[in-house]
């Protein structure tokens, strides 16, 4: 049986910049010549959304910021009403929208519990029978009779949560509140929500935490710009949502990347590399240092927030230059977003303005917080290059990408075998991102491709039977 039914619900917010907000405005408007007429602006937060929730089901609502998730929840709680469409809720709703709503600082914890209960529509008797549960869940036995203004914020939140979950609602609406409290209390809350779930209470969860959705919800809906994009099993919906987010990210990143490339191409024509062919290397070095200092490549969007991006730099004598570094996935498509556990190739394309004997190509990978993950060079990997001249590519092939979800920076360099001479050194110059893909691991720094095996020891049992 559907306990929540949402049928063709649309919600339109009318933004009226012109509407007088006070009698003063109203009076002023009377005496003003007809002002420039500003049209009402309509904002459709939800459009023709329909879904049902069955009793006992746990539904997750996911979507980007501004996709209409919270509007949806507010409609379910009846705080706002739909512009069109029908919402039917058959049961008592408890909303964990914001904890401690309606607590009065001057009242004691006990008094506030009763007040809060009646805000949620419960009677004093019903509340009284739950009081002990609430107090013990909140661990506030000693403080329940002092005004809540003396509570620490932790005590406050605990009491509020304990009250909210103990009103014995049929439906629990949760909006991002799982982010409050300390670790142990959060765990307790999750545990309790799980317990409510097993008692058959219907839960609707709105959150950005896909982990929470994955672990709590059997079903999910994905809202995108107010439109219901997908409704189904959590894993499927989350996967589709992630795919969408990543392709969007990838598209944006590619645009930035292309802009950057054309900018650096422009730069290259403005400051042509020293034509040092045939001249001595010393002259080349002095030539390059006398040229105007290289402006660092334009920072990518979002890169500026990463600590390592600030240390971006480039130096070297430039007889050979790294022109670009690209990342390719399993199918050989160029990507900026790669998946953990999948193959990845890093292609370094270079140009050597003169013949360089025994060059060494190297790279290093850093996490965006500066952690040096690893790296290698052609010399250490015993892939010795005799010489380079003109353009070419060096491939660095990773069979199984061990990086976990995150943003990474790559340093690429060309130098000689003894490291005494640096031709081109581009520190933190390239950025790529990794998402988890099909790998379920998400804790720690790297993914260790491994598998488990279980071998129960049966000797003891056999011995017992024999004895």
């Amino acid at each position: 049986m559907a306990i929540i039914e949402v049928a063709d619900v649309s919600k339109c917010f009318r933004m009226r910049p012109d509407r007088p907000r006070s009698f003063q405005d109203l009076a002023v408007n009377l005496f003003r010549k007809r002002p420039h007429f500003v049209r009402d602006e309509l904002f459709w937060a939800l459009r023709d959304v329909s879904f049902g929730v069955n009793a006992g089901e746990t539904l997750g609502i996911i979507g980007a910021n501004g996709s209409g998730k919270s509007t949806c929840l507010k409609l379910l709680t009846r705080i706002i009403e739909p512009t069109s469409g029908d919402i039917r809720v058959n049961g008592r709703v408890a909303a964990l929208l914001e904890l401690g709503t309606g607590f009065h600082p001057e009242l004691t914890g006990r008094e506030n519990v009763f007040l809060n209960g009646s805000v949620l529509g419960l009677h004093r008797r019903q509340m009284a029978s739950r009081l002990n549960d609430i107090i013990s869940f909140a661990e506030l036995e000693r403080f329940i009779d002092i005004p809540v203004k003396f509570y620490s914020s932790g005590m406050y939140v605990r009491l509020a949560f304990a009250t909210a979950i103990n009103v014995s609602a049929d439906i629990l609406l949760v909006d991002e509140v799982l982010a409050v409290g300390d670790q142990s209390f959060q765990e307790k809350c999750l545990e309790h929500i799980n317990e409510m779930k097993s008692r058959g209470i219907t839960i609707v969860l709105v959150t950005h935490s896909l982990d929470a959705v994955r672990s709590l919800c059997s079903r999910a809906i994905w809202l995108d710009d107010g439109v219901l994009r997908q409704d189904g099993l959590t894993d499927m919906v989350v996967a589709r949502y992630l795919e969408h987010v990543h392709t969007k990210d990838e598209g944006e990143a590619r645009l930035i990347r292309e802009a950057e490339r054309s900018a650096s191409a422009l730069e290259a024509t403005q400051h042509p590399p020293p034509k040092t062919r045939g001249k001595s290397a010393d002259q080349a070095t002095s030539g390059s240092s006398s040229s105007p200092p290289q402006t660092p490549p334009r920072t990518e969007q979002g890169a500026s927030v990463d600590p390592v991006a600030r240390h971006k730099g480039r130096w070297g004598s430039r007889e050979a230059e790294i022109r670009d570094v690209r990342f390719y996935d399993r199918e050989g498509r160029e990507r900026l977003l790669l998946a953990t556990g999948e193959p990845m190739s890093v292609v370094i394309s270079y140009i050597a303005h003169e013949r360089i004997e025994t060059p060494v190509f190297g790279l290093a990978i850093y996490r965006n917080d500066g952690l040096h993950i690893g790296g290698s060079n052609t010399f250490l990997a015993k892939c010795a290059l005799a010489y380079i001249e003109g353009a070419g590519e060096v491939h660095y092939i990773v069979e199984t990408l061990p990086l976990l979800e995150g943003t990474y920076y790559l340093t690429a360099a060309i130098h000689n075998t003894t490291d005494t001479r640096v031709y081109d050194y581009q520190e933190f110059a390239y950025r790529f991102r990794v998402h988890l893909g099909s790998v379920a691991e998400r804790y720690g720094t790297i993914y260790i491709p491994a598998h488990w095996k279980h071998l129960p020891v049966v000797e003891d049992v056999a011995g017992d039977v024999a004895g």
Binding site: R21, A95, L97, E98, G102
Partner: protein
């Protein structure tokens, strides 16, 4: 409307709890909390008594403190309820935005908690009545009815103004000025009998006394209180309010209540997004 009323009934305990909250908060912080709330009307009573019996002695109203206080207490109830009720929705915006409950609970609870204050102040009034030997009589049975009528009228006003305040945020400020004017236009510290029956203003004869009653329900309500608690300025004892006069007051008050409730519930579904 019936289903709305049923819902209001289902949430009635919230109203009770809000009233209790208001009273507790008001009286919790000081032992003298209750006395403080009495101080204002008693002080005003004292001032009016000094002004009208010592400084302007020709009015010669007998038992002047009773005369003033039995009107001042209902007036204070009305004025604080209306002013508090006006801002009750906006000032509880955090609740409105987070939880659903019948929104009319908030202004109603505001009025009711002020009503409890009025009840708590009554013993002082009765002490004064006994001290001045006002010959109370059977007409006192009308007092509860008069109170109910006033509560109805006050709730109606609070509902209308609370709604306006959501959409026009300076309603509260404007009401403060209006309440002050209203106080002087209502026969609280002067007797109605002082008003002229007729007065010619710019060539138009206006029945001032009648107009006061017709246009100002508070004048009728205050006059009824005075009629049963004090009597009349000519020294005649308390009497039941004239029936035709009082039934008109009842009708007016109920109309204000119904219109206020309809007005409020017509707009209350938009409060969640307007606040």
């Amino acid at each position: 409307m019936i289903s709305k009323l049923r819902e209001l009934y289902a949430y009635w305990e919230l109203a009770e709890n809000l009233v209790i909250r208001d009273l507790k908060v008001r009286y919790k912080n000081s032992v003298l909390g209750f006395l403080w709330s009495l101080l204002n009307p008693l002080l005003l009573m004292l001032v009016f008594t000094v002004v009208f019996t010592i400084m302007l002695p020709n009015l010669a109203i007998p038992k002047f403190p009773v005369f003033v206080l039995c009107a001042l207490l209902p007036w204070n109830f009305f004025s604080t309820s209306v002013l508090g009720g006006t801002t009750s929705i906006v000032s509880n915006g955090h609740l409105i935005k987070k939880v659903y409950f019948p929104r009319e609970i908030l202004p109603i609870a505001m009025v009711l908690s002020n009503f409890v204050n009025l009840l708590l102040a009554l013993p002082v009034l009765f002490a004064l009545i006994v001290f001045f030997r006002v010959p109370l009589n059977v007409s006192l049975v009308y007092l509860p009815l008069i109170m109910i009528v006033q509560v109805a009228f006050t709730i109606g006003m609070a509902l209308i103004l609370a709604t306006l305040d959501v959409f026009y945020r300076d309603t509260g400020v404007i009401m403060e000025v209006i309440m002050q004017a209203w106080f002087f236009l209502t026969p609280v510290f002067y007797p109605v009998s002082l008003l002229p029956e007729w007065k010619v203003v710019r060539g138009i004869a206006l029945p001032i006394r009648r107009l006061t009653y017709i246009l100002n329900p508070m004048a009728s309500i205050i006059a009824s209180y005075r009629s049963v608690l004090y009597g009349f300025t000519d020294g005649s004892p308390p009497a039941a309010p004239a029936w035709d006069f009082f039934s008109r007051t009842i009708v007016t008050s109920l109309l204000v209540l119904i219109i206020g409730y309809r007005f409020f519930t017509h707009f209350s579904h938009r409060f969640g997004e307007e606040i």
